[in-house]
Subunit: 409 residues, 2 copies
């Protein structure tokens, strides 16, 4: 089924906000097996909105519209959609009650504008808005559909999950199921090579690879006549892939690497501490973004200067003089010192040259040493991210540290 | 002048990447006084691309296209633009030389595909690509323009700044100049109230306020018959605004607060250290994102546990027992201990409840204490971000710390 995503809002045309709604809906629709042919954005102008809907619906089977459903005079999506799809707006008493309740619950006064939000097209399937006041709806004419949702991402994503997705699933001819696997430590081309026969021979399930900022993703999707069949087809393929490249897969469920590592530490009841130089606290900041992490993360050091490495971690001054701050020896003494100072179960250290300055022929920008200690296991890993930017090197080093923790606890 | 932004690329329709090009161009065009009427996205399909350009150009004076200029068979923007604007592609020898040089410089082999990139419309104004191989161009027909740029954001923004912006400035009737002021510590509504007479009475310069994740922005723009006049009109207005709300303005030139603080520290040759609890290293990570910051940032502590606060910073166990880890007293002892341990000129400490758990009636989620010490100046500031998410609290606390440093060094 061919679809288009239409975003309504002048603030998008000013570049004030990023269109995350289009990204979210594109992912969801593609994952459900719909084809997304266009993204369009127009301002709060009824004439341009009407001609955009009219011309787009000639080309596709369904338009998903976000925005322009609010209570102000600018919000005209409902009226325009109604005109183009030849319907009329009527008061929906149930929604009117829900909006009144919403205002009582939040202790605010309901204005006449808000009552206008209870107007919906007479033939529409109405979607209740649990996160706000503007209802959404789906309207059909001659086998073509327009689906209207509120613009605020929180309201839109909530309505999509609760109401629109089930509505679309019913429309779809068959049951689409998919899994998103995430991998670290293998490049996209090597991954494709290892799975070439699967990718080349695919019909259903389909297997697609994506590269994304230092990691790879695998999307495995199947469309069958029952949900159970589709689930089984996906799982069977996941098992095959897991046998070939399982060591690189850190999530079978589209999780971030830091969340996986945080959960593992919490489940295993291990404490952790970090000593960072080139990443400057990125590891600690990423880990402490997880609620409840204080159960496992106890202390971090950002030993940016040599003095701090000596003072806080007990790194030998001779080691720094002989091998330099960016060296296997320093990374080792950092992680050993960290374990001694904090007594944590798991300790990580990192020292490197993030650039753009500070590189030499012997020790170029991008050279990074990661130290790891857990019980008797203690080692240093060398990484080289040649030719990359400061941001890239820091972010990839963060992923590198996290993956070492994941593989060794 | 009415414009539309057209992004070409199937990966956008898959939701794999966010359309930052449209955001960047929208901001730039609006700032230069152009009206952005539409954003469109189409996949790598010549038929749909052609009809999109054909229908859009009826409605606007200029289309800015990004993407589809690469060397592969998918890249068809040039051919399609040429067809719609009735021109033909010819080899541009200068570009061919530049592409060959690029391959020599980067030590790679040039393929026939790459030579195809030297083809440009015969009537076009050509824009050289300093950051890649695909050239951009502007093509005119019957007073309407199409401007094509490469898709990768780094190449596109570079080409826009170097070549497209000057080209557009010449097209514009008059000279547009603007400044983006950034403010912290004042809400958008209070800011509007303080500038109400200016905003209400505005014709030229125009003054617009935006709220953005804990800060406010003010855009002051003027369009005059000469650049000097426009510059002066903007500067005069900036002076008036500066007199009213100057204390909140951290940048007159659209800089990030962390970059402003980093620059101030480097200029004043001050060393700094941090002791973070609830922000978990965010401050250190943000500051160390700045190249060359090792001159000023010496050491950071992420004292997430009470033990770490006592061990690393010398916080009294009785203080923790009596007042708790999240208290004015603890924040004060943290910053004093930090100064003693590191000897840095400027020291900051932070302790708070980032949530979602851990809050009480007396000490709710969002309660944060920030300690600051510089010479004899030593104080603790209390902040309360009630009802907010963990991410919001952590990010706003980071801005709060940075602003305290900015105001006190």
């Amino acid at each position: 089924m061919k679809t288009a995503i239409l975003s309504v809002g002048t603030e998008l045309l000013f570049g004030q906000i990023v269109n995350t709604n289009a990204v979210f809906l594109s992912k969801e629709l593609n994952n459900m097996g719909f084809d997304v042919m266009y993204h369009h954005t127009v301002g709060d102008n009824p004439g341009r909105l009407a001609s955009m809907i009219t011309s787009t619906i000639e080309d596709v089977d369904m338009i998903l519209v976000t925005g322009g459903l609010g209570p102000t005079q600018d919000d005209l999506t409902k009226e325009v959609a109604c005109n183009v799809f030849e319907d009329e707006l009527i008061i929906n008493e149930k929604i009117l009650d829900q909006i009144s309740e919403y205002f009582v619950r939040t202790g605010r006064n309901m204005t006449e504008n808000n009552a206008k939000q209870a107007l919906v097209p007479s033939r529409a399937t109405v979607f209740h808005n649990d996160a706000g006041t503007a209802p959404g709806f789906a309207l059909e004419k001659d086998g073509k559909y327009i689906i209207c949702m509120p613009g605020p991402p929180r309201e839109m994503t909530h309505m999509f999950e609760i109401s629109v997705k089930p509505f679309l699933e019913k429309m779809s001819d068959g049951f689409m199921r998919y899994k998103l696997l995430r991998l670290y430590g293998i490049g996209e081309s090597l991954l494709e090579t290892k799975l070439l026969d699967i990718i080349d021979g695919q019909t259903d399930p389909t297997v697609a690879t994506y590269a994304k900022e230092g990691e790879c993703q695998l999307r495995i999707a199947s469309k069958r006549s029952s949900a159970e069949e589709a689930d089984k087809a996906v799982q069977d393929m996941v098992d095959v892939i897991s046998e070939r490249v399982g060591e690189y897969i850190f999530s079978y469920d589209n999780e971030e690497l830091v969340d996986v590592v945080g959960r593992m530490l919490l489940e295993k009841k291990l404490t952790i501490a970090s000593a960072e130089s080139c990443t400057g606290g990125l590891f600690a900041a990423a880990l402490t973004d997880i609620p409840g992490i204080s159960q496992t993360f106890k202390a971090g050091f950002v030993t940016y200067s040599n003095e701090a490495k000596v003072r806080e971690l007990g790194v030998n001054e001779e080691t720094l003089a002989k091998y330099g701050a960016v060296s296997e020896e320093t990374a080792k003494e950092m992680v050993e010192g960290l374990a001694k100072v904090t007594g944590c179960d798991v300790c990580v250290s990192v020292t490197g040259i993030a650039g753009p300055g500070g590189g030499t022929e012997e020790k170029p920008v991008g050279l990074v040493y990661i130290g790891f200690k857990y019980g008797d296991k203690c080692f240093v890993t060398k990484k080289l991210g040649a030719g990359a930017s400061r941001k890239w090197i820091r972010n990839h080093t963060l992923l590198g540290i996290l993956d070492i923790v994941r593989r060794n606890i």
